[in-house]
């Protein structure tokens, strides 16, 4: 089976370095790449009635924004290099959603930036990368 890399982007420099690493490996192995952006979201958060009424529309906007602003430019860069590349934007818990996406797309490696969250958040709640390492169905490559 060919190698397939799932990259988790977050709009940070570290995420871009993860894409570069996935690109390098895909070029070597001739594998495919899935670029993903997870919008942090919890089904158990509290919101106002007004926010709820607009939620459906906001969700679509967030997905379009993630695809067009972050994922599409990277996809074009990879395609120029001749690498087959899919993009996917989702809402959810970042680490859990990446693990789901890994199963869904049957990837062989997840590539993710080490630092994405704010320093305080990652110190107290554990970063996305450290959670993902524990729950991932496949090897995780953490890029500094």
């Amino acid at each position: 089976m060919d190698e397939k890399y799932l990259v988790g982007l977050d709009g940070s420099d570290c995420g871009r370095r993860a894409v570069a690493e996935a690109m390098r490996q895909a070029r070597l192995s001739g594998g495919d790449v899935v670029l993903s952006y997870v919008i942090p979201w919890s089904p158990f958060s509290f919101s106002t009635a007004e926010e709820n009424a607009l939620r459906h529309k906001r969700r679509e906007e967030e997905l379009v924004c993630a695809s067009e602003k972050i994922l599409l430019p990277e996809q074009q860069r990879l395609r120029k290099e001749g690498i087959d590349c899919e993009i996917v934007a989702r809402h959810g818990h970042p680490a859990k959603t990446l693990a789901h996406l890994a199963r869904e797309h049957e990837v062989t490696v997840i590539v993710i930036g080490a630092i994405g969250d704010t320093p305080i958040k990652s110190r107290f709640l554990g970063g996305t990368a450290s959670t993902l390492i524990q729950i991932s169905p496949c090897p995780v490559l953490v890029v500094p």
């Binding site: 509290f46 709820n52 529309k57």
Partner: protein, 517 residues
């Protein structure tokens, strides 16, 4: 206020609460003198008290209307308020969420939003009013009304989701205005006209309710709370309710006119925490006095049947309990359907089943805790003219000395979040009536702020009458229309329940597996 209503509201002990000012009129008193007769008139017109034979007390017709509907719905849907609970819990927990819809409004979020609009003074002040006016027995009727009210909530919220509509700006609107007008239109041209009328009348009353119980009453009670923790009659704020009202109006205005969403967002996160603190404190007090709990329950049940009730006669106590419950849970009123309707689901009934938990938490759990604390502490007996939030605060203070300060903060936050929630309900009704223009919206918002100031400046008696009247009146058009829509809800329920029973309702795991394939 009429003699009749004096009998209903100002029963022995409470009359001391509404003393007429002997000194020169302050600004507050002048506002009171001007508005109170008007409020009394509206109240008489809508509550329409029916005399209870053999008793001094009166049962407002609208309360009877609510109870009959709740009993009928409970029977018609074969105790959905009991058999739906387990499934409702699984829905709230997210067992049936669709992973493809991640990012949409979940059942949990819709319920939490609706609860933040209803949990509040109805549970804290309302119970105290019920106990001080109707005696401990009123609480039993309050709980029973909450239990029956779960069925009313189920029907409303199912319909709210079924007939919701998408606005031009992509936002979702639902609620009685829509299910009354669109739902009845589906059932033939004759009913279409009735639906239209019901929808308009509902919207009018809802706007009134958003000015009354959801606004004036809240602002009034939070002012009383500030007064009592800053020194009661000696407080610098005494007689300066209008000033407190202005400050509160400014804070509400920041969100609803200034569009400072961050305040609303913070409030929506802080309110559940305050709710948890309140419940915890109540449980601590009950635990400290655990030996008195059986006696407290015995007292509640014996006085519920009129053995030693204050109001004279079981029916009088029942009327008070049911009225406070209606005000606390808003079941049958129609307001919650507005908050529930934005949920993401293909099955309207699923949200109805989730909505069962609203009166359950709001009226059965929280009210029982409040009532136990008040009864155990005994403050209602020698409360000496205290009522509403003051009484609850005193009761908590007997065990946890500093709790009145926390409660003061909680009351203001609950009041604030209820105001924000209802300003939205009222606005939706206002724009339903006058069109989705920004001029219409601004007019409503400015009126809303005006009532915040009025509420803080008036005495409790006048405020409570007007508040009850406007909120309870929403039940007339709402329930009238719902009776015609019952067959639709029953069809939806039977179809949905067959799916749940047959296991063909896809769970979260099955949805995920299907997505992977």
């Amino acid at each position: 206020m009429s003699r009749n209503l004096n009998a209903l509201l100002v029963l022995p002990g409470l009359s001391a609460l509404v003393p007429l000012p002997a000194t020169a009129a302050t600004l507050d008193e002048r506002i009171e003198q001007w508005v109170a007769p008007l409020a009394g008139f509206v109240e008489r017109l809508i509550l329409f008290p029916l005399p209870i034979p053999g008793s001094e007390a009166h049962m407002p017709f609208v309360v009877l209307w609510l109870v009959i509907a709740a009993v009928f719905f409970t029977g018609y849907f074969r105790f959905i308020n009991v058999r739906g609970l387990a499934h409702g819990f699984r829905l709230i927990r997210g067992d049936y969420n669709d992973p493809r819809a991640a990012g949409e409004v979940t059942h949990f979020q819709a319920l939490a939003t609706a609860l933040s609009g209803t949990v509040g003074l109805g549970n804290i002040a309302g119970v105290a009013i019920a106990v001080s006016v109707g005696g401990p027995g009123a609480v039993v009727w309050m709980m029973l009304a909450g239990f029956l009210g779960m069925s009313s909530k189920f029907v409303e919220c199912t319909l709210g989701v079924k007939y919701r509509s998408v606005n031009a700006d992509g936002s979702i609107s639902g609620g009685p205005m829509w299910y009354l007008s669109r739902g009845l239109a589906d059932r033939g041209p004759a009913l279409a006209r009735l639906g239209k009328i019901c929808a308009v009348v509902f919207a009018l009353f809802c706007v009134g309710g958003s000015f009354g119980g959801a606004n004036m009453f809240q602002s009034n009670q939070s002012f009383q709370q500030v007064l009592s923790v800053t020194g009661g009659a000696d407080s610098w704020f005494a007689g300066r309710g209008w000033l407190f009202g202005l400050i509160l109006a400014a804070l509400v205005g920041l969100v609803i006119i200034g569009g400072i969403r961050s305040i609303a967002r913070v409030t929506s996160k802080v309110v559940p925490i305050m709710g948890a603190i309140y419940i915890l404190a109540g449980l601590v007090i009950i635990a400290v006095h655990i030996d008195q709990v059986p006696a407290a329950f015995a007292l509640m049940f014996s006085s519920a049947l009129g053995v030693s009730s204050v109001a004279g006669g079981a029916l009088g106590v029942l009327a008070i309990g049911f009225q406070r419950a209606a005000f606390s849970s808003e079941a049958g009123i129609g307001s919650a359907a507005i908050a529930h309707s934005a949920v993401q689901t293909r099955e309207p009934v699923s949200e109805g089943v989730v909505a069962l938990y609203e009166p359950f938490v709001d009226t059965i759990i929280v009210c029982t805790i409040t009532a136990l604390v008040i009864i155990i502490s005994g403050v209602y007996v020698d409360g000496g003219g205290m009522s509403g939030v003051e009484l609850t605060s005193e009761a908590f203070g007997t065990v946890i000395g500093w709790f009145p300060y926390v409660l003061a903060l909680a009351v203001i936050l609950f009041a604030y979040s209820t105001m924000l929630a209802w300003s939205y309900y009222g606005l939706k009704c206002w724009t339903f009536l006058f069109g989705e223009t920004s001029a219409a919206a601004y007019t409503y918002k400015i009126l809303f702020l005006l009532f915040v100031v009025l509420g803080a400046s008036m005495q409790l008696g006048a405020v409570i009458g007007f508040s009850d009247a406007m909120i309870l009146a929403m039940a007339f058009p709402n329930l009238l229309g719902i009776y015609f829509l019952l067959p639709t809800v029953r069809r939806e329920l039977d179809r949905y329940w067959a799916k749940v029973r047959g296991g063909t309702l896809p769970t979260w795991r099955e949805n995920l597996a299907r997505q992977r394939r």
